[in-house]
């Protein structure tokens, strides 16, 4: 497969997944903001979390200053100036899809194209009610795209690059959500089982659609260890780090190019750490450190994948030709 085609498929999937994750994070912030404020402190404090998770706090502050509900929602959802806004993610997903029109199915193209066209028909400014509907719509479009993809595309190397994009982005997002909220996961003996914890952890679980899974799995009060176990180590939870790395590793094995040895090694190493790792170790070594390491390794893995498969740097290729 042409590197450019693989790159476009990778980023098409990655941008769709990113749009969905941003919608999730904002949705939870909206829900939380309905709770009495003392649960997470001030409003500004609450609204910094989504900015930090998506890594756009600095650029937000330049434009708007203090974090406010309406400004953060607009900036992360609809602002064309924010390169990671949902608006731009859906735009880039479509641009990537359009240039590889021949490598995706008609149905996939129609979902992506319709999403973009519909987005442009939506109001440019939204109030609270609009935003709730909007986040649901974004999630639904993403679900639809995933369903159509799996239901129509031929299972070749192209699908593997789509999976790589999806699951690297998802792993990255889950790790960031956990990292930004890690302080609430630190065990504090006073509050176990308290109402405040229930809402905080509950909102975190809901943001990754894991609230019901938690209850089904543990049938017990919410505890930080279990939340971490569910979202980091369990392989049956679709948005956990372990489940994502399962998919990343199997996609890399399916691609199996001779240039991707280092990428496969890194993915295998990361997968093994999640497969055999223990929750108590992650806590005793520091959850924040654990997650920072994970994010660092994921970035490293992304770079390796880019260089091995997606890059069109002649020098790297000429090196391959001569070895």
């Amino acid at each position: 497969m042409l590197s450019r085609t693989a790159e476009n498929l990778f980023w098409m999937a990655r941008h769709i997944e990113r749009a969905e994750n941003t919608a999730r994070v904002l949705d939870v912030a909206h829900r939380t903001s309905l709770l009495p404020l003392d649960i997470e402190g001030t409003q500004a404090y609450l609204w910094y979390a989504p900015l930090n998770i998506t890594g756009c706090a600095d650029s937000y502050e330049v434009k708007y200053g203090l974090a406010r509900a309406d400004a953060v929602s607009h900036y992360m959802a609809l602002d064309p100036d924010n390169p990671t806004s949902i608006y731009n993610c859906l735009k880039l997903a479509r641009e990537n899809a359009r240039t590889v029109r021949g490598a995706i199915t008609t149905e996939m193209w129609e979902v992506i194209n319709d999403t973009w066209l519909e987005l442009n028909r939506l109001p440019k400014q939204m109030d609270y009610e609009n935003f709730r509907d909007f986040f649901d719509w974004v999630k639904n479009r993403s679900h639809l795209f995933r369903g159509v993809t799996l239901g129509t595309i031929i299972k070749d190397i192209g699908l593997s690059f789509i999976k790589l994009g999806t699951f690297l982005e998802r792993a990255d997002n889950t790790a960031r959500i956990l990292d930004v909220k890690y302080h609430i996961l630190l065990p504090s003996l006073d509050h176990i089982g308290g109402a405040a914890d229930y809402y905080q952890w509950g909102s975190l679980l809901k943001s990754v659609s894991a609230f019901e899974a938690y209850q089904k799995t543990y049938r017990d009060v919410i505890s930080p260890q279990r939340v971490s176990e569910l979202l980091i180590f369990r392989d049956d939870m679709p948005r956990s780090l372990h489940a994502c790395m399962d998919e990343v590793e199997s996609a890399l094995i399916a691609i199996n190019g001779h240039s991707g040895k280092e990428a496969r090694r890194l993915a295998g190493e990361q997968h093994a750490a999640l497969h055999f790792g223990l929750t108590q170790d992650a806590f005793s070594d520091g959850l924040h450190e654990f997650l920072t390491d994970f994010l660092k390794n994921t970035a490293l893995l992304s770079r390796e994948i880019r260089e091995a498969y997606l890059s069109r740097q002649e020098t790297a290729l000429i090196r391959q030709l001569t070895t």
């Binding site: 497969m1 042409l2 450019r4 240039t99 129609e110 194209n113 066209l117 069109r312 290729l317 030709l321």
Partner: protein, 476 residues
């Protein structure tokens, strides 16, 4: 050709007394018995089919509205008989063989100049002549692997070549899509008629490209090269690549290392042997041609001239399809093949010649005047349908630079029945068959019929509101 007899044009389906011509007999009977409104209904169906295709391929802009530039499709087929076609096929093959011989000659020994048939100035001073190609040997001595020859018909057995397209002729995807659509809409017609198939064109093209490969390459890697998804013919590029099962690449996907061309793939670099490029000469290599081109591949010309990669079409074919070179094609046929030309040229006045110039200036209202380098129906004067003011404005343009123009009589293009708002009515048509040259010269029966949808209009170019028709060649 007497301009007076041209006033009445030739209707391909109906004779002057209103009788249906033999070739159209079965179609005419079928049409006669068709319940009212059926054609219109099927037409709506066809539009829907094409719109779906359009939605999926031709989305250019940001907004849905400006997205589709569909070329209108007419559901009445244009029909040729076997013997009619046979003659055209022989004539087309003959013409393309001569054109390729000419290209080989002018980039090698220039015998035709030495023989005094065409002047050195006419060839070497042409902006499309590429001195870089001098002495470069191409497999099978083929330069124009894919040629689109535009034909018009004046009378029963009177065909003229209007133009040779030897650079990157387009439209073949419409020929293929039109047939697919017709078979879907009117299966019963294909039962009644033995229509020669055209669907194997991509396979024929693939074979032609394979034969263009550098010798000694047993399994050549072939790609289609496009300027990118914003190009108006991008649909065709993607379509042909997928029909042939080869990669569709852009310049940025290729690189040259030690005079060999490679594409960037997920498996590492892969050598490419044949590039069916739909990028003009000017843009293919910024080191040799336009330095500002981002569509090309630096070093491509060097790889090409060392024989490590084939380009289809070859570089420098433009010198042979120029409107001022067109005049000499019948001579080329006699000179290189020793044969009498089967297809005629349209009589043409060269305004660089003072005698021709004074004749043309005196007869502008009845002539068609074209720019030598122009294409797509832009910048031409159609005398009979132009106002006095338009003619006078054009006269000034001619006087400023006469050598930039040629003139031809206004041809009474034949007409075919066409479904328009008022029902089925005659509209003028031309024909672009696609001629492929590899070890042999090949052609699928038929081609792309273009139709001027406006009543009385003689301009069939899609950029000027023309549509297309499925073209049938009946078996004997």
């Amino acid at each position: 050709m007497d301009t007076k007899t041209l006033k009445k044009y030739f209707n391909e389906m109906y004779a002057d007394n209103g009788a249906v011509r033999g070739i159209y007999e079965r179609y005419g009977n079928w049409l006669k018995d068709l319940p009212d409104g059926t054609l219109e209904r099927r037409n709506a169906e066809a539009e829907l089919l094409f719109r779906r295709l359009g939605i999926t391929f031709a989305v250019y802009g940001e907004d849905a509205g400006e997205a589709e530039r569909l070329i209108p499709f007419d559901i009445v087929p244009r029909i040729f008989g076997a013997s009619e076609w046979q003659r055209l096929e022989l004539g087309l093959k003959q013409r393309v063989r001569a054109l390729n011989a000419f290209l080989h000659d002018i980039y090698h020994d220039q015998e035709i100049i030495k023989a005094g048939i065409i002047t050195e100035q006419q060839v070497l001073n042409n902006a499309q002549y590429r001195p870089e190609m001098k002495g470069v040997n191409l497999p099978n001595q083929v330069y124009a692997h894919i040629a689109g020859i535009d034909l018009v018909r004046i009378a029963e057995n009177d065909f003229y070549v209007l133009e040779d397209n030897l650079r990157t002729p387009s439209g073949v995807s419409y020929m293929l899509e039109n047939r697919k659509t017709m078979m879907r809409l009117f299966p019963e017609l294909f039962v009644k008629h033995a229509v020669e198939p055209v669907e194997h064109y991509p396979q024929m093209l693939l074979n032609t490209l394979r034969e263009a490969a550098p010798p000694n390459v047993a399994y050549p890697v072939i790609v289609v090269m496009t300027p990118g998804s914003y190009n108006s013919a991008y649909f065709e590029h993607a379509y042909l690549a997928s029909q042939m099962g080869v990669e569709l690449v852009e310049g940025q996907d290729l690189f040259v290392h030690q005079q060999k061309v490679y594409m960037h793939t997920t498996e590492g670099p892969q050598q490419v042997h044949v590039i069916y490029r739909r990028v003009d000469d000017d843009f293919i290599d910024p080191r040799v041609f336009r330095p500002d081109s981002t569509l090309g591949v630096p070093g491509l010309m060097e790889a090409y001239c060392s024989g490590n990669v084939a380009l289809a079409n070859g570089v420098g074919t433009g010198v042979a399809d120029d409107k001022s070179t067109y005049l000499f094609v019948p001579e080329m046929i006699r000179f290189y093949l020793g044969e009498a030309p089967i297809l005629s040229n349209v009589p043409t006045w060269r305004l660089s010649e003072s005698e021709d110039l004074s004749y043309v200036l005196a007869h502008l209202p009845e002539l068609v005047v074209k720019e030598v380098q122009g294409s797509g129906g832009y910048g031409m004067l159609v005398g009979p349908t132009s106002s006095k003011a338009e003619i006078e404005a054009y006269r000034l343009r001619i006087l400023a630079e006469p050598a930039k123009f040629i003139a031809q009589p206004t041809l009474a293009l034949s007409s075919c029945p066409t479904l328009v708002e008022s029902g089925v009515a005659p509209r003028h048509v031309d024909l672009r068959p696609f001629v492929l040259s590899g070890k042999d010269v090949r052609i699928v029966p038929g081609g792309l019929t273009r139709v001027a949808l406006t009543e009385g209009s003689l301009v069939v170019n899609s950029s000027q509101g023309g549509g297309t028709k499925d073209t049938w060649v009946l078996e004997d």
